[in-house]
């Protein structure tokens, strides 16, 4: 799995709350090769839906799972937005 850090300004049309969800690891921002054009596009996976985004992060449409096969192999986080601390390395006692 490839991980990428990008500035939040790279995808200006994504709302800040969505970016926070992504950085918490709740929702997934990822790229996948577009089956129709062989270019990689941004997708957003929420609890129950997958949305295709344009190159500025604007929501294009909701993906129907049966219509598109989307493999998740590149995940994105925002380098200038808070991410959770490491619990396994936090001294708790």
């Amino acid at each position: 799995m490839k991980l990428h850090d990008i500035l939040s300004s790279r995808l200006p049309d994504i709302d800040d709350s969505v970016k926070e969800c992504v950085n918490m690891g709740e929702w997934l921002l990822f790229k996948s090769e577009d089956s129709t054009s062989s270019t990689a596009s941004f997708y957003l996976k929420t609890d129950s839906k997958i949305y295709k985004l344009d190159d500025r992060g604007k929501l294009l449409y909701q993906v129907e799972p049966s219509s598109e096969k989307i493999e998740i192999d590149e995940i994105f986080y925002f380098s200038d937005i808070h991410r959770p601390i490491s619990l396994s390395n936090t001294r708790l006692f």
Binding site: L3, D15, S17, G25, E26, D73, P84, L87, T90
Partner: protein, 297 residues
Amino acid sequence: MSLIGGNTKWVLFLSAANEPETRHITDLAFGILCLEKAGVSISDIEIYVDGSDRASIENFLKSGTASQLNLKESKDFFADQTVNKHENIVMFVTGHGGPLGIDAAPPVTPHALLNCLKSSPNLKHAVVYLGQCYAGVFNYIGAGSKKKDDGEADPEIIFIGATNLHESLSLHTTEAFLSGPVSWHANIFLLFSFKWLSSPVDIDGDGKFTIMDSYKFAGVCSNGANKNMKTNALIGSSDLQAKFVAAKQAFDANQNPSTDLALQAAHKNYSMSASLLYVHQECWILNAIPSQRIEAI
């Protein structure tokens, strides 16, 4: 007798009636990372994960290992156990749970798992870490070793539950995987159980790294993290509430897919934080006496 040095099968188990959540797959990826760091060979690790997108599941798991993976489904675990050749099994269960057992089609009931382990040929010891919600439904069953009809002892089973008859806690964390830092909503009891294996602590000072040490370590750390996160959740809740209210007003003023998505995200952040304040987690261990002498390392 040490589990890591002995004839042990290490099982990472994620069953699902529908599709598994990526956070649960990431729990197991962290597990592979810690097990290999602890010296467990990938050939002794069996991974059983349900779900239709096998390629993405494997990609998530590969963030925790450079080794070749042989991914199976949850039903294969029960088939594999009928021809078991290992003396010991250590099993980690993540995913969803309910009053009827571990989420699967059909659910894995306490007696289905117990009977599977008890009837596994060659098996002497089994330790099962149950991370799912309502793990307590697996408590108070006949796990201890007993004489069979032929006079031989059946396997000694130890069940360890992340929580009793409550939902199980997941907290946001960022951990260093082989691919880089990964953030996810992690099952904290399993997180600390895996962490203990890779960096063992002799909690009770008997000079050994036993399963009981892993239980106490994971329990103390989970409870400590829980208390800290609840405190932070309360402190941050007013800010998240303000963002949620603003997102609601923006959606009401201009209803479109983008404002709807922003509202969903604001609600997600706010409700996740609020729900933390109401989840209680208390771990348990069934068949504790053998766990005091079974050494992991």
